[in-house]
């Protein structure tokens, strides 16, 4: 952090502290962020996380409080004499049963979250995600019940981050910004464009080794495994750019294969998709004209 960043730093700390207790909405990592994002999707584990956190805090205060009282009251230096008891069936039943009740409450909550997460039915759109060392490929499979014609591309770390991240590049990661937001290692050459308000099903596979597709603002990650087609869904509520990274160690450039999801209003998305389809057609036509033996993968 530069010295000019101190003021920003302080306000970010304040925002972080507020977020810890009040719950502020942000989608992408901000400096000094301390808590999980609430996310922008219809499904979010944020509430579950906060309940579990507060349950732990309350239990912690009670247990550690009891320990500190014991350490203060029962010190030999204060003349405490050791008692002889070493058992209490009543107490032991209490601290077996009470945790069980708390756990049943948490389990109930989590089971609900899991059930809605697992339900990938009723999606209006399907996107296939393939993880490669060290980039992502996105293929649009269908939209509103209609197959999408050959829209697919590879998305990888954009160039300025890639130059900066080379060993001893002497380039400043602070300088890589988009609209005042630092995007070092969190920006790609070509983002995944999706519509808001549409339930999207992702089919996630691995092309070589195991990767994991993770955008924190969507609330989940899912492994991309060779030979297995995993499914997950999202329904984004707000337009915006949401950033994430590969979350499963996949080799030397594991840290350098970010994910960017650009969520746009439906009309804008449909326009974008149409343009992409047209481009694909033109490209195909051009290839046919050249008598290319096989379609060249784009990107």
């Amino acid at each position: 952090m530069t010295s000019g960043g101190i003021g920003r730093s302080v306000s970010a700390w304040a925002a972080g502290a507020m977020a810890l207790f009040g719950g502020e909405a942000w989608a992408n990592p901000v400096p000094n962020q301390m808590n999980m994002t609430q996310g922008v999707s219809e499904w979010s584990p944020y509430a579950m996380h906060m309940v579990a956190l507060w349950v732990c805090v309350v239990i912690g205060v009670i247990v550690f409080g009891a320990m500190f009282i014991a350490m203060f009251r029962f010190r030999k230096s204060r003349g405490a004499v050791a008692e002889k008891w070493a058992h209490s069936t009543k107490l032991e039943i209490v601290w077996t049963v009470v945790p069980v009740i708390i756990l049943i409450f948490l389990a109930n909550l989590a089971t609900g979250g899991l059930t809605t997460f697992a339900d990938t039915t009723g999606a209006d759109m399907t996107i296939k995600i393939t993880g490669y060392q060290w980039k992502w490929r996105y293929d649009y499979v269908d939209y509103k019940g209609k197959g999408v014609d050959k829209v697919g591309f590879v998305s990888k770390l954009e160039e300025s981050s890639d130059r900066t991240r080379q060993l001893k590049s002497n380039l400043d990661p602070d300088k890589i910004q988009v609209d005042g937001y630092n995007t070092y290692l969190l920006d790609v050459d070509k983002p995944l464009v999706v519509p808001v308000g549409v339930k999207i099903r992702f089919i996630i596979v691995g092309g070589d080794v195991i990767h994991s597709w993770w955008v924190p603002a969507l609330g989940w990650k899912m492994d991309a495994i060779p030979g297995i087609a995993n499914a997950a869904w999202t329904k984004i509520k707000e337009p915006g750019v949401y950033r994430g990274q590969c979350a499963e160690l996949c080799g030397q450039d594991h840290g350098f294969m970010p994910i960017v999801v650009k969520a746009v209003p439906k009309a804008e998305f449909e326009q974008w998709l149409a343009t992409q389809e047209d481009e694909a057609k033109i490209q195909k036509a051009a290839q046919t004209a050249q008598n290319a033996p096989a379609p060249v993968p784009q990107g």
């Binding site: 389990a107 989590a110 630092n182 995007t183 350098f256």
Partner: protein
């Protein structure tokens, strides 16, 4: 067994020659010492790798190492710390203390004891030598998930090293079980044994159960790599996820192998310095056994993000959450042991209290991680890194340090420097929190684990964490200094019963413990035991 318990004609003292004494040793105390020295050495080697990791992560941008070398460091740090530092330290403590605590003259199988130790230096020489080979060391993470791990050039070396470590562990475990079940002094009933002995009895069964599973998993990796099998190769009809199931069927019990003996140690130390018997002895033993049982049916909680069927996720989530119950019982019982005691705060007690608090924090994050929907966010982030370092560093490693301070008077015959012990404690306990606590925030904010570089949003907490890391690493040099001072230079003689409130058979023998102890089985007095009367 009968032979060992009867007599041996030259029970005089340690052999004079260095080679004779240390390399050919069959004495449980000397082999225990070897294990402890080995694990301390590995602790510093693994720690050096951690320093490389924290140095590279000190600020955004790549400053020191190539990403591939960074991955070698994370992989080797884990392998060395788990198999080289934590596990051998516990085996060393068992070697030294189990015979003394149950009134046995030595381990049941002394020659195998020698073999199980001396395999280890070769295993680690082989593992570490891969770092100097063309192609480098393993860089696919200590979990060795295929297909990534099969891209490495050092697969054969790593797998052979792991086989050797496994053989060593299994032999150690057999030896401990045989000693505990056959060599207890008359009157030392199972339910009168110290909790540390109980914890090791259960741990040894876990080791025997799961080390062969690991051996099987890595052997399949080996044949996939060199013999064209397709266990884990999707293109050949195999399944990469199968490896994860097998690995974690080993891996989760392995986690408890590294924490159950710690529970045992803490259950010895807290009653000593609270001067009050352990609260709920039977519940403590039962809790350890329940945790060990549960460890076999929770493995897939490491795999919530691989796309398991919902029914499986629910089962593994519930089973994992259940572990909180026996673990809670242990924590509550330790607190109750302190309650109404007469406490003093020597270094072993300080480490034990820090253990209870910080291990519980690791337990809390464990409970959060158990909740599958939330784990879709936490998984493979720095939140997980923070979690397992709280349970393994401030849990397992702190318990080993507590044990070292607690028993070193018995081992060396001298008292360590209490002042320097306390300096080591305070320096460690503060720095370890500076090191690992901010990692919770990093993970929640979205930083994946095992990455060599990161967005500037993560810069401040990484820098704080790195500063804590260097500080914690440097603090361990104090530990080394205290040990060397205590063994070679300390003038303060240790009493047989080195601590006022210490109970148990190990404190009835002289300090330092003579080369041979309990040639004649001791007579057990119930009031001599650390857990009071068990008849209720």
């Amino acid at each position: 067994m009968a032979h060992a318990a009867t007599h041996d004609h030259d029970h005089h003292g340690a052999p004079k020659g260095f080679f004779q004494r240390w390399v050919m040793s069959t004495n449980h105390k000397d082999i225990g010492t070897l294990y402890l020295i080995f694990s301390l050495t590995m602790f510093f080697i693994g720690g050096a790798f951690a320093m490389v990791i924290r140095a590279e992560l000190f600020k955004p941008g790549m400053q020191l190492v190539q990403p591939y070398f960074f991955n070698e460091m994370t992989t080797m740090h884990a392998l060395v710390m788990i198999f080289g530092a934590i596990m051998p330290a516990f085996v060393g403590l068992a070697n030294w203390m189990v015979p003394l605590m149950v009134g046995a003259p030595d381990m049941a199988l002394p020659r195998m004891n020698n073999l199980s130790f001396w395999i280890l230096p070769f295993a680690f020489f082989m593992l570490l030598s891969t770092l100097f080979m063309p192609g480098g060391g393993p860089a696919g993470g200590w979990t060795m998930y295929p297909p990534l791990s099969l891209q490495g050039e050092s697969v054969a070396y790593v797998i052979f090293a792991i086989h050797l470590m496994g053989i060593s562990s299994i032999m150690g475990a057999i030896n401990i079980i045989a000693t505990i079940l056959n060599m207890r002094a008359p009157g030392m009933d199972l339910l009168k044994m110290p909790v540390f002995v109980w914890s090791w009895l259960i741990t040894a069964f876990l080791l025997i159960a799961v080390m062969p599973v690991l051996a099987g998993a890595v052997t399949m990796l080996l044949t996939d790599k060199y013999f064209h099998t397709n266990f884990f190769n999707a293109a050949g009809g195999g399944d990469p996820v199968l490896f994860q199931h097998i690995f974690w069927f080993f891996g989760h019990p392995e986690v408890y192998i590294m924490i159950l003996p710690a529970f045992g140690i803490i259950s010895e130390i807290i009653p000593t310095f609270a001067r009050k018997p352990i609260f709920g002895y039977r519940a403590m033993v039962f809790a350890i056994a329940s945790i060990a049982f549960l460890s076999f049916i929770v493995w897939a909680h490491h795999m919530f993000a691989v796309g398991l069927p919902m029914g499986a996720e629910i089962f593994f989530m519930y089973a994992t959450m259940l572990i909180a119950v026996p673990t809670g019982v242990k924590v509550f019982n330790w607190v109750s042991t302190m309650w109404g005691g007469s406490m003093t705060f020597e270094t072993p007690m300080l480490f034990s209290i820090a253990f209870v608090i910080l291990f519980t924090i690791g337990g809390f994050s464990g409970l959060m991680l158990a909740l599958a929907p939330a784990d879709f966010q936490y998984h493979d982030t720095y939140f997980v890194v923070a979690h397992f370092h709280y349970v393994l560093v401030t849990g397992a490693a702190f318990s080993i340090m507590a044990a070292a301070y607690y028993w070193i008077p018995k081992w060396s015959g001298h008292m360590y420097s209490e002042t320097w012990g306390k300096i080591h404690f305070w320096s460690s306990v503060i720095s370890v929190n500076v090191l690992f606590f901010p990692q919770h925030f990093l993970g929640l904010a979205g930083m994946p684990r095992r990455i060599p570089d990161y967005n500037v949003a993560f810069a401040n907490f990484n820098m704080i964490s790195s500063i804590g890391g260097f500080w914690f690493g440097a603090s361990q040099l104090i530990f080394l200094g205290v040990i060397i001072h205590c063994v070679f230079f300390s003038k303060k003689k240790a009493a047989d019963r080195s601590w006022e409130g210490a109970k148990g058979l190990e404190w009835t023998v002289p300090s330092p413990a003579p080369f041979h102890t309990f040639d004649v089985p001791p007579v057990i007095h119930d009031d001599e035991l650390a857990h009071g009367n068990t008849d209720h």
